[in-house]
Symmetry: C2
Subunit: 218 residues, 2 copies
C-alpha cells in the first residue's frame, strides 16, 4: 500500500518565489550533467535572466546561503531545492475525467518525476470502467469517496468538460481530498481548507494568440 | 494545404484581463447549454467570484457593452469572446520533443477546439521517425525548417528534456517560428519579435505542494 506523504515545507513562500524555484532546479539539473561543482548567483542570473539579488533572496527563504566568491555547491543546492519543492516525495492523486486531456496527463510519466503519483481515474463514461492507462485503473465516478480513502489520495485533478468542473470539485472536496488541480478553463470554488491550483492551458493559449497577432501586424 | 491564419485582435490587452476572458467564455458556454438568453455582470460575478465592475471593464476592452437591466446576450457574447481570443481560428503548431508530455499534448484533441492545430512533431529519437500520434506524423529534428515552411507553422511547442529547451527554442526561432510555447520548467530566451509563453506545469505543482503541506500542518 502506498503511504500518504506530504512535503515538510513549513513556510508559506511568496508565489513568485515558488514559481522561480523550479527554474533554478531545472538549471541546476542541467549543470549537474556537466560536472560543475560550484555556481554563483551571477551565473544563474545570466542563464535565467533573473536579478542576482532576487536569486539570493529566493534561496535565503530556504535557509540556503552561498559562500563568498565560490557560490553554491551544485549537488547540495539541487537536492535541497528538489526536497523543498516536494518533487522528491510522493503525492497520491486521482484524475477526475479521463477524456482526451485527463488520459494524456495520466500517460505523462513526467509528472511522477515531480512527485505526482496518479493512483486512479474516475469517469462518468461506463465504457471506461475497468480500463487502464499507463497501469492506472479507471473507475465509475461514484467510487470516488472509497478510492480517496483506500488509496490515500490527497490531490484531485480535474479534467472534465468545463460545465462539470464545479461538480467534480464539490465531489472531490466531499470525498476528503486536500488539494485540487483544475485543468479546466472554468473558475471553481472550493471549501475553506482545500488548496486550489489552476493550470489554465487555454488561458495561456489566449495570451499567446493575442501577442502573436500583434507581432504579426507590426 | 492548410492556410496560415492568425487572430485579428489588434489591441494588446493586459495579461490579467486576457487570463480572465477564458473564464467568462467557459461560463457562457455552460449557460448556452441551459438556453439562457441574457446574462448580467452581477450573475457572472457571482458565478466566478470576480468583481462585477472588473468584468464590465474587461469586456469593454473588446468593445462589448451590456444593456442596462438586461445585460449581455449570451450567444453574441460567447461568439465574440471566442473570436477575440483566437479560439475560433486555426494556428498551426509543431511539437518539438515527442516524449511522454509531447505525445500526451498531441493526443489531446481538446487543444484543437481552442484553435491549436498540431501539424507535425519532431524528435531526436530515430525510432519515432515516421510514426504517428492522433494522425500527426513525427519527423527527425533536422527537418524543422522545411516543416515550418511547408506546413505554415507559426507556433512551436517545446516538450523536450529541460537541458535541451534552449536549443529547441533556438532551432524554432531560426526556422522562422513566430511564437514558442514552452512546457519545460526551464527558462528560455527568444530573439526579439518572437512571442514566448511558458506553461510551467511543474511550477504549479510546486505551489500546490507548498500550500498543501502548510494546510495539513495547521
Amino acid at each position: 500500500m502506498t503511504e500518504k506523504t506530504i512535503p515538510v515545507a513549513s513556510i508559506q513562500l511568496p508565489e513568485p518565489t515558488l514559481r522561480r524555484l523550479p527554474w533554478y532546479l531545472a538549471y541546476l539539473s542541467t549543470l549537474k550533467k556537466t560536472d560543475t561543482e560550484y555556481i554563483s548567483t551571477t551565473r544563474i542570473a545570466e542563464a535565467l535572466d533573473v536579478d542576482p539579488s532576487q536569486i539570493a533572496k529566493d534561496l535565503s527563504f530556504l535557509g540556503i546561503r552561498g559562500k563568498t566568491r565560490i557560490g553554491y555547491q551544485v549537488d547540495a543546492l539541487e537536492s535541497k531545492l528538489r526536497d523543498f519543492l516536494g518533487f522528491g516525495r510522493e503525492h497520491n492523486a486521482i484524475m477526475v475525467g479521463v477524456g482526451s486531456l485527463g488520459a494524456a496527463l495520466i500517460a505523462d510519466s513526467g509528472l511522477q518525476r515531480y512527485g505526482l503519483n496518479i493512483v486512479a481515474g474516475v469517469d462518468i463514461n461506463p465504457s471506461l470502467t475497468g480500463t487502464q492507462i499507463n497501469g492506472v485503473e479507471i473507475y465509475p465516478t461514484d467510487r470516488l469517496p472509497e478510492l480517496v480513502e483506500r488509496l490515500n489520495a490527497v490531490i484531485g485533478i480535474i479534467a472534465v468538460p468545463v460545465e462539470s468542473a464545479q461538480e467534480a470539485s464539490d465531489r472531490l472536496a466531499e470525498a476528503g481530498i486536500k488539494a485540487i488541480w483544475n485543468f479546466t478553463p472554468s473558475r471553481i470554488r472550493v471549501p475553506e481548507g482545500v488548496v486550489i491550483s489552476n493550470t489554465s492551458i487555454y488561458s495561456h493559449l489566449a495570451v499567446m494568440y493575442n501577442r502573436l497577432s500583434l507581432k504579426i501586424q507590426q
